[in-house]
Symmetry: C2
Subunit: 226 residues, 2 copies
DNA sequence: GAATCCTGGATTGTTGACAATAATCTGTAT
DNA sequence: ATACAGATTATTGTCAACAATCCAGGATTC
């Protein structure tokens, strides 16, 4: 989503966003070697800002760059996706704990509202996993920012989520367990509302662990080789 | 330190390393507004590669950049430093657990060797906190890579450690408890050698938590306002 | 006297051209 | 036919000039 508030938006920022979403949405396949001029033509940019964006993307681990040999989108194995979930488990556990300690009452009210809107969304479009994924993203986003831990939020929102979402798009019905996830979310929010950081951390870790196992099972069953 | 192995070393990489070490060592004070041309003169670079490096540094959170308004080194409060340690606590706990599960026997032997060299270093240069800091860095570095979790190692080594070291240089006698830390290290290594992931995670978390409390105390006592 | 608007200067963002490097293709020899 | 070596080509890395934007100082107005 392009921001509206930030007018001073350089071409490099634009390039960064374009490339990031393109990678996440799968428009640029992993392993695909892409030339700079080709990208320039595709996104109406010049090579200066593009290279700057490329550097940022490389620093974030979304693509790899060998000197004089071009750029290619990073291709991640199933094992590496599982590792990402293990990182999420501990980091979001921390986020939940700190959110329980620090969120304002207004923010907690917002969490409840998010929960309700997810419920109606799930009822309306039954089984539509996409909305669930979006709602899930929203939920975790709020908790990350609610932790009041700048760096933690930055790492979660800026690094991990993009990599995870990159795979969500591919195996689209990733979570595929809307009701169960919603229940888990509700319990986490209740723990936060009661300011029980320890419990919130525990529940969040279990929630993400369950999601990881679910994906692992789906991949093994369906033979979905990413 | 410039790498010797990697000959294909672009100017942008060079600029990135130079700036990173300059920030970490404190040659560029936090909050200081720095101009591009000034940096170019300082590091014998042109603005192209420099800007690319600047983008990377910004993406890693070591400096902030307002469009058309210049670059300044990020200045972090005491609270934010504490937050960094909280993140380290959970991430390095995970790293220790996975290292216990996955490190090869040779790597574990290397850990023991590191431990021994630290011991002699501490004995030789008693109280010299600098060596301790270096050894500490080495220890945590080995465990991060030993976790075989690519992204985890990347986040720890590429992001967090640089920010933490940035403050180590400032309040130089950061840990200042060589012997105690060494004992904690030894216990962690033993847990890893016994392939006891749970214990290794617990000990590592406690170790980092102790370091955090130590720094917090030092800051409050000495009135070291970073 | 204080605040606001405007203009000059400096700095950043962007562009296009140039140089250096790696991949590819072709030709020859085994 | 295959493997190796050389040259070509295309792509990346780098540079210097141009345009757009913000900051500071001064003048003006309330």
């Amino acid at each position: 989503m392009p921001e509206v508030i930030s007018q001073p938006y350089t071409r490099a920022d634009e390039a960064f966003d374009c490339l990031q979403t393109a990678i996440v949405k799968g428009d640029l396949s992993p392993g695909e070697k892409i030339g700079e001029v080709e990208l320039c033509a595709r996104f109406n940019l010049t090579r200066g800002p593009l290279r700057e964006a490329l550097g940022r993307l490389e620093s974030r681990g979304l693509l790899v760059r060998r000197p004089h040999a071009g750029v290619k989108v990073v291709s991640v194995s199933t094992e590496e996706l599982m590792e990402l979930y293990r990182i999420r488990e501990v980091m979001e556990g921390l986020a939940a704990r700190q959110a329980a300690e620090r969120m304002t009452d207004a923010e907690i009210a917002g969490l409840y509202a998010t929960l309700d809107s997810h419920e109606t969304m799930i009822e309306q479009a039954q089984g539509q996993a996409y909305y669930q994924a979006e709602g899930d993203y929203d939920f975790h986003h709020r908790i990350a920012t609610g932790s009041r831990n700048t760096k933690l939020a930055q790492m979660l929102l800026g690094d991990l989520y993009y990599m995870v979402r990159m795979y969500r798009y591919r195996l689209s019905t990733a979570s595929g367990r809307p009701h169960m996830a919603l229940g888990e979310h509700r319990r986490i929010v209740e723990a936060i509302a009661q300011r029980d950081g320890e419990l919130a951390e525990f529940l969040m870790k279990r929630h993400i662990n369950a999601a990881r196992q679910n994906i692992e099972r789906k991949i093994q069953e369906g033979g979905l080789t990413i």
